[in-house]
């Protein structure tokens, strides 16, 4: 099956954890259901959850924690 990508809905800064002291929302190998939070995007000092619109297993993150992202940029790759 083809891999699926979750895209950032907004431009900003991508975070993999809810706070610096918490564990990451998802790591490689974790299974993801539709609606699961995979990270946060900070845009203009406000934080927005990035929710998966697909189900699968995280095969890789395409951006690092605290990377700048564009709207529509692929953030994570899921395999079946």
């Amino acid at each position: 099956m083809a891999n699926k990508q979750v895209l950032s809905p907004l431009p900003g800064t991508f975070y993999r954890k809810p706070t610096p002291d918490d564990p990451a929302y998802k790591s490689e190998g974790d299974s993801v259901a539709v609606g699961d939070v995979i990270g946060l995007v900070e845009v203009m000092k406000s934080f927005h959850e990035v929710k998966s619109d697909a189900a699968g297993t995280v095969s890789s993150f395409l951006v690092e924690n605290e990377d700048a992202v564009m709207a529509g940029q692929p953030i994570v790759e899921l395999s079946d």
Partner: protein, 455 residues
């Protein structure tokens, strides 16, 4: 020492504002910028520009060594911090001075003194300025906190001594709630700030936010009257005006005198703002804090007083004495500022970065638009949402509101959503027209009037 080469350690509309003031003084301007701001208006207008790092503020505008390095390499002799970022960071001010340059603002020690809530409150009390009833200083244990709350009466705010910007605040309604919340507040302060010190303040239930603009040269201090900033959303000001419509003349005098007394007591140098809560039922005012920098809403004071505050603060930093005596400052008319933010009021003020495909800036008599926008500008998502400030002046408040409506109707920012629709609705509201509001009014109004905010 006169300033010849000024580095602007900020971005956005305030960087543009500072560049304009400095250029009028014949000063060579040097604008720092992040990777995301290479095409900013400030970079285009400055005489020189230096890249200081990555898009995120922590990699650029909040990187002390990158800024100091840029200042040295461009042979700047002064640094203007603007507002936000490092403007109230005492260590940054000290670092600028240690590198042999002028910091445009008060000394690091003054910033430190007024930046700590407890010491600022002590300064106010010593200067005879009324403070919000509460603890005399920091409180280390729950028993002490209980005694203070018992004395001031409820509701009270439990604040972390090391907190700020609305963080570490709990409001409790009675002693039972206090017993429950106080130990949590202390533990939370220890965890969040590494300092379990608390202080207790009575909650003023219906308060207006009124602040006094001061300008000092280290010896003399004058005031430029007051501003009212009661219209706030989530503790952020959205609409500011000068003068405060509800203030009786005798209270205005007392308020402005109190602000000057406080600033004199710390030999204040530069532009600053002394903030008060005002109870218009009792006509009591209480000091809350002093901001040791230029503020976003400074233009309303400039328009009623006819003075350029940013230019004056640069002159003072360069070593000039105050050019005005108090009697030279004669307020006239009424000014209103509204903050045009890249937010969608119809969607709970969701941020809206994007490209401004077309811009029509309002103008004409009594209208000023301090902005970072130009047609084709891509608003970066990494910083706050303020795009510009629409400021109007007229002979009286009613005239200013009519002029504001006219100017708002002229403003067009194709391609992005802004808070313009909020201000069109507010300017037409009866309570706003009659200046009937307190600091909580806007939150309640937004609940009821969400439907009016679609464009």
């Amino acid at each position: 020492m006169t300033i010849r080469r000024l580095l602007i350690a900020n971005r956005g509309e305030i960087a543009v504002r500072i560049i304009r003031a400095a250029q009028e003084l014949g000063i060579h301007t040097i604008q720092v910028f992040s990777d995301a701001d290479a095409n900013s208006l400030a970079v285009k207008l400055a005489d020189e520009a230096v890249n200081i790092g990555g898009a995120q503020a922590s990699k650029s505008y909040l990187n002390v060594s990158a800024i100091i390095e840029a200042a040295k390499s461009t042979k700047a002799d002064a640094v203007h911090p603007g507002y936000g970022f490092f403007s109230e960071n005492a260590d940054f001010a000290d670092a600028v001075v240690a590198a042999g340059m002028i910091f445009v603002g008060p000394s690091g020690d003054t910033i430190r003194l007024m930046g700590d809530k407890v010491s600022a409150r002590q300064v106010a009390e010593k200067a005879g300025v009324p403070t919000v009833p509460g603890s005399d200083g920091r409180i280390e244990n729950i028993e002490e906190a209980r005694a203070v709350a018992d004395k001031t009466g409820f509701p009270v705010m439990i604040k972390a001594a090391a907190g700020g910007g609305g963080r570490g605040i709990r409001i409790v309604a009675d002693m039972a709630e206090f017993e429950h919340q106080a130990p949590q507040a202390k533990a939370e302060a220890e965890a969040a700030f590494g300092d379990g010190g608390l202080y207790i303040e009575k909650v003023i239930e219906s308060a207006r936010h009124i602040e006094v603009q001061v300008l000092g040269d280290g010896e003399n201090v004058i005031h430029c009257y007051e501003r009212e900033c009661s219209l706030q959303r989530r503790r952020q000001k959205v609409w500011e005006e000068a003068p405060a419509a509800v203030l009786p003349a005798n209270v205005r005098d007392k308020l402005c005198q109190a602000a000057v007394a406080l600033a004199v007591s710390v030999n204040y140098k530069g532009a600053g703002t002394v903030e008060f809560l005002y109870d218009d039922m009792t006509q009591d005012f209480h000091f809350i804090e002093m901001n040791t920098r230029i503020q976003v809403e400074h233009p309303v004071s400039e328009l009623i007083c006819g003075i350029d505050l940013v230019r004056e603060m640069i002159r003072i930093a360069g070593g000039e004495p105050l050019r005005y005596a108090q009697q030279d400052i004669v307020p006239r008319g009424h000014a209103i500022e509204v903050r045009i933010n890249a937010e969608d009021p119809a969607k709970d003020f969701m941020p809206f970065p994007g490209v401004v495909s077309e811009l029509i800036a309002p103008g004409g008599p009594g209208v000023r638009f301090d902005t970072m926008l130009y047609a084709g500008y891509a608003i970066p998502p990494f910083y706050d949402s303020l795009l510009g400030k629409l400021i109007v002046w007229d002979e009286d408040r009613n005239g200013a509101i009519i002029r504001l409506q006219r100017a708002l109707n002229e403003l067009k920012t194709e391609g992005v959503k802004t808070t313009k629709s909020l201000f069109i609705a507010l300017a037409a509201d009866e309570d706003v027209r009659n200046a009937r509001f307190d600091t909580r009014w806007l939150e309640g109004w937004l609940e009821k009037n969400k439907a009016k905010l679609g464009e």
